[in-house]
């Protein structure tokens, strides 16, 4: 049997498993929006852990990170820093978001911001920023999925068809089972992707170099430029290192598919434990990626699409059955994030826009059905984006994170009581300034003076937010007492 049939067959077997889980989740649906959208706020530690890590790590981690180590060298180990920071943010900020969500029945990020800032304009802008920038993240996953299946099939399945097949499958099980389906598949995907990336990297390092330590020595001898900063193409300057750390920690956390997960935890203790322990998974997943990328730079130099380095190495040097299993893990990585993004955007568009402004008083089944239609629309957009360009997966993810990062001043204003209150006008002005700056510093004049454009946007946003908040009315004392009072009570027991 031809190798590509074996490896592709195994990927399709994994996809069948995902569909079965989706169907089973559909049978367990208890009805109601809160069950479909938030798993009834009952996610225990193990499930929440695996869904958060599986959602955070995507095609970016499995493919993009290898591609970045391949091209830019050891600088990508900055990823260890931002993944540890994600744990700290989850344990601190995430816990507060959970507490407010539970107390005031928030379902979307915009629910929380609109409530505190007493503003529907804040709701709409938050929803739009959340959705627009995560469309880029959909593109990352769609592109990654296309790479995986097209390489696994030896290009028998063209990139465009491969992307479409995998997008449709993710959409199907999501539409069937809602967040329950997403969580159940994430449990499988989280374990599979971790085992697959470590297994694949170790196999390749032993087969090609005699082991990881020998791999490091060969890289030092043949490509020492990959082992120091700023890397062969000078990307990892101090400003970029710092910028990517901020954008890919706070920026990813503030995207709706991660933020909504905080609402679903069964308890505060679950979230705290989550924050403390998720770096064990998130950070260590980049270690084998380093082996793949750096080793790949020696074995397959000059690859036109560096993001394909992992599947290309597997296809050439690993047995077909193992390639299939590992690439199924890569598929799992991308789909675990994709289904979460589709779900989150579906939730935001259904709750914050459709239900609020179009049809307020329909029954819950109506909104669930509307959500399903929205998923189809998002799927089409994701497909069109993925076939129209093939930018580095890491670059797309950073763009996506840069946009979501602009919500940080508003979110901190809600979750961290302080002497100076942020006002709704401060939030809106800050967002407008931040997004305009982002356009200038990512598109017109990328990364001025070597500092990542996302950080420039945040600086402009924060400065504007503070200045405008100082001159405009804060939220009413009743709202501040209610929401900040809840946090004071939750954190300090007063």
């Amino acid at each position: 049997m031809q190798p590509w049939i074996i490896s592709t067959g195994l990927i399709f077997a994994y996809l069948a498993l995902a569909l079965i889980l989706g169907a089973l989740a559909n049978r367990r649906l208890q009805g109601g929006l809160e069950d479909f959208l938030l798993y009834g706020r009952k996610a225990g530690f193990v499930m929440l852990y695996l869904t958060v890590v599986a959602t955070y790590h995507s095609a970016f981690a499995f493919l993009g990170s290898g591609g970045f180590f391949y091209t830019h060298g050891i600088g990508f180990w900055a990823s260890g820093g931002w993944t540890v920071l994600v744990g700290a943010i989850t344990a601190t900020l995430g816990c507060r978001i959970w507490a407010l969500g539970k107390r005031f029945s928030y379902i979307t990020p915009a629910d929380m911001l609109a409530d505190f800032y007493e503003s529907e304009a804040v709701r709409v802008v938050t929803a739009l920023v959340s959705v627009v920038f995560t469309l880029l993240y959909i593109q990352v996953q769609a592109q990654g999925l296309g790479y995986i299946l097209s390489v696994a099939s030896g290009d028998q399945i063209p990139f465009e068809l491969a992307t479409l097949i995998l997008l449709v499958i993710a959409a199907l099980y999501l539409m069937a089972g809602g967040l329950r389906a997403v969580y159940w598949t994430d449990v499988v995907q989280g374990i599979w992707m971790y085992v697959a990336v470590w297994g694949g990297a170790l196999l390749l390092s032993y087969r090609l170099f005699g082991g990881p330590l020998q791999l490091w020595r060969r890289v030092a001898a043949e490509r020492p430029d990959l082992l120091t900063l700023p890397g062969p193409e000078g990307l990892f300057s101090p400003g970029m290192w710092l910028g990517m750390t901020i954008v890919l920690s706070f920026g990813i956390i503030l995207q709706p598919h991660i933020l909504i997960r905080y609402y679903t935890a069964a308890s505060a203790r679950t979230i705290k434990l989550l924050g403390a322990t998720t770096p064990l998974f998130l950070t260590t997943l980049f270690m084998p990626a380093a082996l793949v990328g750096l080793g790949g730079a020696l074995v397959l130099p000059g690859l036109e699409l560096p993001d394909r380095i992992f599947p290309e190495l597997l296809f050439r040097f690993a047995p077909a059955w193992l390639t299939g299993l590992i690439l199924a893990g890569a598929t799992a990585a991308a789909m675990s994030t994709l289904d979460s993004i589709l779900h989150a955007n579906m939730t935001v568009l259904t709750r914050d826009i459709y239900q609020r402004y179009w049809r307020r008083d329909a029954d819950e089944q109506h909104y669930i059905n509307v959500g399903r239609l929205i998923v189809v629309g998002l799927l089409l957009i994701g497909f069109l984006l993925s076939v129209s360009s093939n930018q580095f997966l890491v670059i797309l993810t950073t763009l996506s994170g840069s946009g979501a990062l602009q919500l940080l001043p508003a979110v901190l204003g809600v979750c961290y009581p302080s002497r100076r209150l942020v006002s709704r006008w401060g939030v809106l002005a800050g967002l407008a300034t931040g997004l305009a700056t982002l356009f200038c510093t990512l598109v017109l004049w990328p990364h001025p003076w070597g500092l990542h454009g996302g950080v420039w946007g945040l600086l402009a946003n924060w400065t504007t937010c503070w200045l405008v908040s100082a001159r405009t009315a804060p939220p009413s004392r009743a709202t501040v007492r209610r929401i900040h009072g809840e946090l004071e009570s939750f954190v300090y027991g007063r």
Partner: protein, 90 residues
């Protein structure tokens, strides 16, 4: 009879803040965890990683120095988080 204040006056502080800042930890454990985390994290950022620790040699545990240095810091940071969770510092 009450008089409504213009928005810019509402924001000044006869509206004294209702709550103390949550940015500063109020417990000893919280302060220790925050300081430890921030210090270790800063050591993993520029200028340290681009300056004195930006090197291949000496090799540590069979891996290049910069990679080993960062790996040790990341493990230490995880340790701080776990310790803070165990001591209920969040």
């Amino acid at each position: 009879m009450t008089t409504e204040k213009p928005p810019d006056q509402e924001n000044r502080a006869d509206s004294a803040p209702l709550f103390r800042s949550h940015y500063r930890p109020r417990t000893r454990t919280g302060r220790k965890a925050t300081i430890a985390f921030v210090l270790l994290f800063l050591l993993a950022q520029p200028p340290w990683v681009h300056g004195p620790f930006n090197r291949i040699e000496p090799w540590l545990l069979g891996v290049p120095f910069l990679y080993a240095y960062l790996s040790v810091l990341y493990l230490a940071l995880m340790g701080v988080l776990i310790w803070a969770a165990w001591r209920n510092a969040f």
